[in-house]
Amino acid sequence: MTTTSTKSVNKKRQVSEIEQATVRFAGDSGDGMQLVGDQFTHSSVLFGNDVATLPDYPAEIRAPAGSLGGVSGFQINFAGKEIHTPGDKVNALFAMNPAALKVNIADLDAGGLLVVNKDAFTAENLKKANYDSNPLEDGSLKNYKVIQIPLSTLNQEAVEGLGLDKKSAERCKNFFVLGLAYWIYDRPIEQTLNWLKKKFAKMPEIAEANERSMRAGYHFGETTELIANTYQVHKANPAAGTYRKVTGNEATSLGLITASKISNKPLFYGSYPITPASEILQDLSAKKNFGVTTFQAEDEIAAICAAIGASYGGALAATGTSGPGMALKTEGIGLAVMTELPLVVVNVQRGGPSTGLPTKTEQADLFQALLGRNGECPVPVLAACTPSDCFYMAIEASRIAMKFMTPVILLTDGYLANGAEPLRIPDIDDLPKIDVDYFTDSSAAPFKPYTRNERLARPWALPGTPELMHRVGGLEKEHITGNVSYDPANHDYMIRLRQEKVNGIVEDIPLAQVNGDEEGDLLVVGWGGTYGSIMTAVEKLRQKGKSISSLHIKYLNPFPKNLGAILKRYKKVAAAELNLGQLQFVLRSKFLVDVKSVNKVQGKPFRADELCDAFLEILETI
């Protein structure tokens, strides 16, 4: 938090203008913290801030109330300038109970604002959170500006007279917190008021109760003398245009529909519910008016197989999942490689292996995407780097799939999927073109389904087209005719041909771009959702005069043409990723460069400061 100016409104209170602030709301998973975070984000983007968010919730829907395992948090970084991450340290923490305090306090900046619900600090709750003594009383919080509010009591008072039972009334208390946060950061409350009206149109008493709670929180801020400072974060100054807020999963589904519209192919999405990818299925299912067909299959395998069937029938077909589901889809991806049918496979990565950490983020499925299939089975692999980039990469994945008649894997991750940021809505004319026509020429009968164009893509001929009847399948195909063939030379030829087709995509993708100097001491290479943290860390070190640059790879197979040459221009290269060094491994083997690894696997994104430290350590060895 950088303070740019401070003025006193009255003797007791100051208003500071700041460039940027990071706030975290934390409570029980039933406390509605995600909702509060979402509303705060929404109001902030509508106000004109740049934002980046980090929702963090447990895998259990309702872990035991008050327990450490049940703590759900939502962090938002909002600023009057361009930002790339949800922030490292938080400036203000709103903790609804002792467990939320315990889990989150380490991330609060020294001197930061700590708002707690005093009512929840009962002996029982303290015990559940493994506190031996009450932190509100034992002096352990002396480094923070602690504001203790009898939140439950004040909230009950606010909704009195509406005839709500105690439980329903208690449920509104997250809106009290939201109101208070709005007041502290000088945000308009209108957006949330409108949202409440719409959301609870059929339950006006609930809308009213939540509104009252929020207003009570807001007024509490105004009247209390406990809070000595409020803050104003100015509008950011982004490029002109119309904006909307997107999470990564929303952006992925928007991208898929957009690709369907610009390619003029109907979208088919087959999927099976899995955290953290389910929102894509839900989102697309709600957008049937755009002609989207969604299919909630009986399992992951059926989901991809149905998509392959739809692709054979002429749809832009996609399937989405997360790691364990990806493992189940493996054989299906192989079938799409062999039948050379377009297919987009989205893997919203989460902590693994096995069931792993379903609600946490990780980047450990790169090997799986690149290599995890039987046989020589090349598949293009792309990775989105920010929530809004999911939009563009979903279009790219669709474009490459149809243009090259191949399955394409798009990697996103839990952090991108749930994180939100503004998306500048593009001009439709600026979107990439996808000109892929079905093959309909029946003059050269008999039809040869495994002939190829200049990109080595085979024709997409649809059932229903007279004279083009043909069979595809998982058995090795004879070059040109597509008939089943066990011929050794043909197999060798086809293996190389499929590889060459995927390699050839390199001509159709953008070159890699360096952020910083074209040569120097250290180049940090990243991929996927770590973009923001790496950018922030590298910028910081560059401002300190370090010779460090970064490069973010969005096309992981094939790599951009210029990547190898770029790597060789730096004294040291490091790959920063949330796994044990998978990109490092690939870069080393591909380019024979001694790439270092900066990694962690905690189910959390990198913090910019820990990256700074790691990069400095490498720089010191030069």
């Binding site: 067909t293 009986e298 069937g309 739809a310 998982g474």
Partner: protein, 341 residues
């Protein structure tokens, strides 16, 4: 040479592809292929409108031998592939060709779900009660105690009954036929194709290499009349060489009776009604098995229900009409937006 499907009627051989058929000589699959071509010709379905989708196994080579569209898929997944295709392209006549291992073991999950959704597919399951392509292991329809390469001491698995499984998932069309009963077979395939909604056909198919004679009781001239009950809609359930035996419903189970004995007359016999809404009676019929009972062939159940792909398409149509706003611009601007000058 091209055949103009508009004017010249298609003959069975028009549906044959140029591929060499590779089943073992004498395999029951040949007969099913021949009757399929006859059925398609009878229905005059344009070749380009047919898609045959299979999984893995001997039966699953089927699509290669027809000059239609087709996918030879992966093991057990034909029904799932077909579901996606039919949803994307309701205009096509989509067939699933599967076997007992492919459809009921590795593909058992898709079997149930495809059927309960009532996707308008024609599923033909070649039941030879053995794994043929992998050379003779026990299959999910092999009899209890069956000795195979993988069960040298005899199988301790209870077999699944395909008809009962399909009825359990409330299939809207369920039938059984036999590879050697060629006319019956062709006729059942025609009826399956004409049924709107999912059609499930079990074909008793002889694997003369690894399980020869598995259905001798139902195909042998001497034995078949006592062991096969031909179901006909609206007719009493009569079987036996001289039509002397019948099936009676008593105390919630089925029993074999002899007409003329113990005062039993034809009026006491069950009359087959394939349109019965409740599948319970059909389920009882599906459970009749040799040697205690004759095994029914024919149509067990044929009821009408909206098909899945139709319901899916209707929802999309309704959303388009109700919500409208289906241009790309509408999509990108959904939700709250704000303008930066």
């Amino acid at each position: 040479m091209t055949v103009d499907s508009q004017t010249t009627p298609l003959s069975p051989k028009d549906y044959a592809s140029d591929q060499h058929v590779r089943w073992c000589p004498g395999c029951g699959d040949y007969s099913i292929l021949a009757q399929m071509k006859k059925a398609l010709a009878e229905l005059q379905i344009p070749k380009e409108k047919c898609v045959f989708i299979s999984g893995i196994g001997c039966s699953s080579r089927f699509p290669y031998y027809l000059d239609t569209y087709g996918i030879h898929g992966i093991h057990g997944r034909a029904a799932a592939i077909a579901t996606g295709l039919k949803m994307a392209r309701p205009d096509l006549s989509v067939w699933v060709i599967t076997g007992d291992g492919d459809g009921l073991s590795i593909g058992g999950n898709h079997f149930i779900h495809t059927i309960r959704r009532n996707v308008d597919l024609n599923i033909v399951l070649f039941n030879n009660r053995i794994y043929g392509l992998t050379k003779g292991q026990v299959s999910p329809t092999s009899e209890f105690g069956k000795k195979t390469k993988s069960t040298p001491w005899g199988s301790v698995d209870n077999p699944v009954r395909p008809i009962s499984a399909a009825l359990g998932a409330e299939a809207t069309f369920v039938a059984r036929t036999i590879d050697t009963h060629v006319k019956h077979l062709a006729n059942i395939l025609v009826q399956a194709a004409q049924h709107k909604g999912v059609s499930f056909v079990e074909v008793y198919q002889n694997c003369n290499i690894f399980n020869d004679g598995a259905y001798l009781y139902a195909t042998d001239r001497q034995q078949k009349f006592d062991n096969v009950l031909e179901l006909e809609h609206g007719k009493p359930m009569i079987f036996g060489k001289n039509g002397e035996k019948g099936i009676r419903f008593k105390d919630f189970h089925l029993e074999v009776v002899t007409i003329g004995e113990n005062g039993v007359t034809e009026n006491d016999l069950l009359v087959h009604d394939e349109t019965r809404k409740d599948p319970s009676l059909a389920f009882l019929l599906g459970n009749l098995s040799y040697p205690e009972f004759p095994e029914p062939i024919g149509v067990f159940r044929s009821v009408s229900k909206p098909s899945y792909e139709e319901l899916v398409a209707n929802q999309i149509q309704q959303a388009r009409e109700k919500i409208g706003k289906n241009e790309l611009k509408d999509l990108l601007y959904t939700g709250d937006t704000w303008v930066v000058e």
